[in-house]
Symmetry: C2
Amino acid sequence: MYRIGELADKLSVSTDTLRYYEKHKLLAATSRADNGYRLYNEEALRVMQFIIRAKGVGFSLNEINDLLSIKIDKASHSCADVKSFTEQKLTQVNDKIAELQCFKGSLELLVAACCGGEEEATHCSILSALENVDAINK
Amino acid sequence: MYRIGELADKLSVSTDTLRYYEKHKLLAATSRADNGYRLYNEEALRVMQFIIRAKGVGFSLNEINDLLSIKIDKASHSCADVKSFTEQKLTQVNDKIAELQCFKGSLELLVAACCGGEEEATHCSILSALENVDAINK
DNA sequence: TTTGACCTTAGAGTATACTCCAAGCTTTAT
DNA sequence: ATAAAGCTTGGAGTATACTCTAAGGTCAAA
């Protein structure tokens, strides 16, 4: 059994993070010692590792909560459910990439059009573009 | 002169957004009517348009605040300053894209490896991967 | 024993960008 | 005149994922 600091160290997370996850129903302590300290068993360690891996591929904590619900009761869910869930996440990620690519394109145009010299920003093409409609929205 | 609702309608933003921007020093009302109502002139409209355009290329409100400081006092800043600022933003965007591409890669692997059938999630390769180290981090 | 590390709780704070609530005054249209 | 829309303020809430604060109990090492 681990105390909270021990588990936190083992996983390179903070004790506050563990308490936060407990508050948000992601991971409960396995039990409490007589003095009120949280105690976590090996299964709790494995759940935390699951959470960390899921975060590592981009799932939010809320999404991870959903995945944990599936994990706990695999018999009630299908492979299709999990795949669909993951595909939705993938779509979100793709959408966000697309948005950022759009920003990137605009920013690159701005940067490319700017002389970047030491003269006053009075005639800065980037500022001008943000001030007027033409240079960006086209 | 516009009242807050008129400016908000003209720009398709909410009155709350305008008050929020005032509170955060992005845009002050030009003046106040005798009844305390905010009044905005054409310059305020142009500043809001600047803000909206800057948001449209990915700058955060804090970053836009910095750009507005430059805009107000162009003589104290160079084209190089603005270009550098924009390049930094571009770098952030690129970094975020890279992170998301990494997530995308992992998620695609997960999705590709999953049979997606109606059988119970008991043997779901996605869940297994999140439960174990091997399938993702390789 | 003393001190410092460890742990508890409740709640507030941070960052970001809004949005909502409550109470009350003003303006507009019927 | 009345009702509804418009506006004010202060402050709290939402979403997301932590992090910090304050007060106080527990444990381990010197």
